[in-house]
Symmetry: C4
Subunit: 453 residues, 4 copies
């Protein structure tokens, strides 16, 4: 057994060639081949981290490769690479630290992509080319760019709020006036004839028209001044949705003013209904404002990261719904008033499993109530899991984003905090006495040797 001395960056490790040959085809196992001269003990120097090397040597001693959980995965990776040890030697109990690093980095990458996307969304270089076009583009798109831009955006937000309010106010029967050709009818109009027999009250209509014109102008302006290519502009989902909302507004306007003859009342009512629903897409205009907040990004990322688990759990949720819904239909078979078909059973199961519990359909026999109890408990457990997933993802992304932005701010201020070495040296932190001391301990042995050889 030949003793081997490994000088790992100053720290001495003593072992034998027999130990080092236990794990074949690694850097340390090849050391014996290098060491042809028979002068014992063999000694080698490597400029690596001695702390981590301890645990790498443990692989040769015990045949198991464990790492302390506090060492960064990247450090482990670097050392394994240097010592030519394959990742497959890593013990299964110590995978966590190793792969936590990987998942951390992929999360960070997602966060960076998000910011990159936001920056790409703002092609500042292209903005500098034109003059008035870019000026308008900046005003419309970037509230932080100038005082005028922020004022415009506040005004835009107010118009969005106003327009959305009108959308809701428009459904109040009290704010609608009977159409001229129904003037002599009674004032109480049933809900389903609200669009065929009444029209919006004049003030509501004109304010709504103003909002519509404003959004149309803003949209056209953006198309005209955009420095992005039109094909790309119309591929952004936000712009498509905005366009559909504007289009549906104008179709709706023309239909309301002149109800065409080729369409009967019922079909007309449906068309109006769908167009009004399409106008709801204007809610996406709030997205622009929410998008400025970091927490909103985090919600987005967390939901996106949980999507595949959501799929499974929604599938399990739906299968449980079908199961309990079908079961309750047969269990409550003697009840003539509720659970008339299995679909109502499924609706009951949904209402019970989400613990909403409207009470419109309720089991009445004892067996049905037992099914109800099991159904509610199952629902609570199934829904707890996606909640837990999205919650834990939210926390992970939120903390990472906080750290990252913290770090980025620090980086930008780095020039201020950097030390001037010269000044520090004058303060004597690298003291001459100290240098002397180390010489007296270590290097004097050399001098001694040197004088002897």
């Amino acid at each position: 057994m030949t003793t081997v001395l490994l000088n790992i960056s100053g720290s001495i490790f003593q072992t034998t060639f027999e130990t080092l040959e236990k794990i074949p085809s690694t850097k340390l196992s090849f050391l014996k081949q290098d060491f042809s001269v028979k002068s014992s003990p063999a000694s080698f120097y490597f400029d690596r981290n001695p702390d981590v090397f301890n645990y790498i040597l443990d692989l040769y001693r015990t045949g198991e490769l464990h790492f302390p959980s506090n060492i960064c995965g990247a450090t482990i990776r670097n050392e394994l690479e240097f010592w030519e040890i394959d990742k497959c030697y890593l013990s299964e109990c110590c995978l966590k630290a190793f792969y936590k690093h990987e998942s951390d980095m992929s999360i960070l990458k997602e966060i960076k992509n998000l910011e990159k996307y936001k920056v790409l969304d703002v092609p500042i270089e292209e903005c500098r080319k034109g003059c008035w076009r870019n000026c308008i583009w900046k005003t419309v798109q970037y509230p932080a760019s100038s005082r005028r831009a922020s004022l415009f955006n506040i005004f835009y937000l107010l118009v969005v709020v106003l327009s959305t309010s009108l959308l809701f106010l428009n459904t109040l029967p009290d704010l609608r006036r009977p159409k001229s050709d129904h003037f002599n009818e009674t004032s109480a109009v049933e809900k389903e004839h609200i669009y065929t027999k009444t029209t919006a009250a004049p003030p509501v209509f004109y304010v709504d028209l103003f909002c519509g014109i404003f959004f149309t102008l803003e949209y056209i302006t953006r198309i005209v001044v955009t420095p992005i290519k039109w094909r790309k502009f119309f591929c952004t989902s936000l712009n498509i949705v905005d366009g559909v909302a504007i289009l549906s507004f104008w179709v709706l306007c023309s239909l309301i003013i002149h109800q065409p003859d080729f369409i009967d009342d019922k079909a007309f009512s449906y068309v109006i209904m769908i167009l009004y629903s399409a106008r709801l897409l204007q809610l996406c205009r709030f997205y622009r404002f929410l998008n400025r907040f970091k927490s909103f990004d985090v919600i987005n990322l967390a939901v996106r990261a949980s999507i595949c688990q959501f799929g499974i759990l929604i599938a399990v949720f739906i299968l449980s719904n079908l199961f309990f819904g079908y079961l309750i239909y047969y269990v409550e078979f003697e009840d003539k008033n509720s659970f008339n078909n299995a679909f109502i059973g499924v609706w009951w199961a949904v209402v019970t499993m989400t613990t909403v519990g409207y009470g419109d359909v309720v089991p009445t026999c004892y067996l049905g109530r037992v099914v109800g109890m099991v159904c509610a408990l199952t629902g609570i457990l199934i829904l707890a899991m996606p909640v837990a997933i999205v919650t834990s993802n939210f926390t992970i992304y939120y903390n990472k984003l906080k750290e990252y932005t913290n770090h980025k701010h620090k980086k930008e201020r780095k020039n201020e905090t950097r030390f001037n070495l010269k000044k520090a040296k004058e303060n004597g932190s690298v003291s001459p006495v100290s240098v002397l001391t180390v010489e007296t301990i270590v290097s004097h042995t050399h001098h001694q040797n040197g004088s002897k050889s």
Copy 2:
């Protein structure tokens, strides 16, 4: 007090025999017996991890055995074994790291068993024997095996969806036709006579028949071509459930076509009802598809791991239900319309504790409402605990599975990433200058000694 020098793989630890004898019958306490020669100081060499040895020496110094929480439990175990120190010396505050390793490994074992089971489920070697039988078996059972297999499985999934939809559509009164012998009756049939007085509409019936025949053929084919022994085949719960669903379908068919005379309407209705409920077992056919997703395995494992705690909490939940249910019955004794018996009280307690709150039975007196408030709060707290348990188990299993699959993929690609030592050496990472340097520091002392002796 004789000084002892312990050379732990190159690091020197200096202590006394008195200290080492504090903990009797361990490897270090026996050192004094070995050291018969009276040359001081005594020195011993061990090829172990010096980092961990520090904390083992602390046991001799202070009488307490603490380990840093970052060191892997397996490393601690190895060192304790080598130094012949019993686990019972371990301080109670440091058990976590030690036993976390154990529970981690048992979780990993469960995950591996799961995969092993899946692989065992697919006896590929046996598959190679026959020719057409294996071809069909593979097509039916393993969607990933060939293009034809995946097409067949998509078709199978569609038929399952279709058949399930028909099961639900069949309960819609609008889709049912009056039986020939009830033809002259009024069309409005009450729910409880739906099976005795009506029959499925022809298109629904024929499509349902097609699905039934398809599943029967598929089941028979699987029995015929299976390379597994039949006894084992029929012991798989999925196959039993599938068989019951098919059987109930055919009994149902024959009963619907020819209603036997020996059975009266009411009993017939119940038999049909139970058979239809049995057909619901076909929902398990979706299991085959869910089973392919890892998240589903995790849900399974998490629920299975939480089962004994669930039992206790369900027991506590039921006892609380009984308590509040019985209490509300007496508290609401003067209310003539609701809470007619204690079972309705229990139903109310279930609905309140799960926060479903249908509102079909509601306390009306003040004391009853106070009971209701306490009941709701108790329920929220009791149900929070199983949710927390299953959630935390889900997270644990999910992370472990992610790490493990990550690691397995890495292992398979190991040959690509393995370094060629020869090449690395040519790049000079084991530099001759370095080797020289370590010689000048450590081994020269030896040469010096060697020349002297």
Copy 3:
């Protein structure tokens, strides 16, 4: 600046007296006084952990005392004590590891107390005195003690289940018979006259009587044979509750058989009602069985540990209830049918904040609905906190209990796993070559010195 060499159990630390005097009145600051001889450099040996000493020396270097988070709080405590450094030097960012140890130990103490209590509950030594008394006591109280004891306990459990079922069945009007003096009245008896005009059906009554006699005998037997002093026996809450349940049963029996004349129907009904409610206390008999499960202990400990936070949150919950209840009363002032007084408002607030939502009282005006929305959201947030507290406490206690029982089992098997040193030595793990090697490195220097001096 005099250089100081500190040999901490073999590791050398080099610093200066100036540094060591920065923190006054600690062991290291007094070193200069000891070192009167002017031979430089000064050197001292201490048999302590060099790993932790590094961070203690950091206090002298930087004036801040930080510890790595992985080091056990007890280790830190020991080192601080040895080096005579006060806890108050500890940086506030590193308190966690230090005090986590303390809270861990207090949790462990609670768990041990629990087990101790259970063991105390079983005074085995006293049991050995008498003969038949102890035999019966063991049979009744300790199901695990013998086969007969476990059979008796299963029978006891069955009787408890039976008796509880009868308690509930007794409230079903269908299972009650009209009293002899009301025989000629109509069979439909209203709920409030159920006790005055009807009596339990004979089979129900006799089975109930059997259960009552069984419990009474069991209770008397326990009183007679108990090795515990009677004063202590009657101070156990379980025994009190059991006694009350038995007493109420007998009072109830005598009242039902002979309705006294001095009491009118209404008052009699109330008395019966309260006595029946008292019988519900027999649910506590299930406690004996639940108590055997560890998870149940954990629930108990977790709830007990969270009690002071619960108090605060219940107070906040009730104040919010009062606030929203009073508010909704005035907001819904024009609604004549619901919210007739502020107490109904509070009930609505409870139902809304717990998200039970019966729907018996619902806000109808727009402002009321806004209050309802805020109320529901507030409730969800307030109730999330106690749930989080009890959940996190549950997890903490559960993990600690698992580790502790794991460790206890290990301790009991320690004799089997203990290594035989002699055998190990023969296998050569303390190799003579190794001993030689360490000599050649370190102790030879001594010999060299020895020969010189």
Copy 4:
């Protein structure tokens, strides 16, 4: 490649100048300039932590700066500062430990501010000036100051409870008497005329009056004796709210006794209603008592820390509400009885998303039920996130507060636990033998050298 020996507080690190120059403009890269003399090997001494230096040297070796996760952020900061390495070199995977320290410290600062505020609230020095004024001020404001103070505060709490009960009892129609001018009317008064036609029952009224007088006197006393400046006193929100409650009480009293003529019944009813609602502000008087509990501070801090995320999530919640509310209005367009306008749809969406589920408005068509299912699931997920945030913040603040108060108590007792060095030395823990031993190992080499030079 010149070998460099770095003596980091006694531990030797061996590397080359080439390696050290890899990271420019840091302390280590400037070492070569210092080392003008060509005597090899160069050696330098630094009095720093060798454990952390290992990872700093890794930056020079591999170009990446990773730190183990267990090292305190403050230690890392100190070392980076000393070695003049910029924070921007820190690897992105190791930001957590670094910034966790920062966020921990900011949480601690918040907790300290809280205590500081409480102390500032109690200006004890100013209290000492006057005699009777301070005596009263202490009695009123600080229950813990004296026995008299605690008795007064218990009485105050009882009056608050009494007054709040009366506020609620006052809304019970049974406890109100018809006004003199309505005496001849029927006793059944409708809810909306409760204030115009009835008055509080005399006992209720007089007890309420007593409470009102008590609070007024207490308030005036506090104004008179307060050592705080009046401007500051009236800026405390608690004092403002208290003042408004007292004012509304007196206005209410005068209005109830003499209903003015210039106001009609309906308007009068509204004024009374608003004044009564204002009296509810007296609930804030409970705040004084809750404020004494630490858990309440933690709730406050946790809610305050989560406020910006709450904002976003409330916004997302409201947008989802608007979306589902508007959608259900059109989906349920054919339903004449419910969903009469989009606002009712929004109310339904709120009730569904919070899972309250009153059941007053329920979708009836199949499409509406699908919308309901999606709405409930969305609501559960959206509301899970703020709950998770406030919960995790609660845990963080709670643990920090526990550690901090634990530490503060320890500090106060430090004089008792401090060791007497003299005594310890006599016990021989710094043994002369040990000192000798270190001399024989290290310093003898010096002596040897010394004798040679």
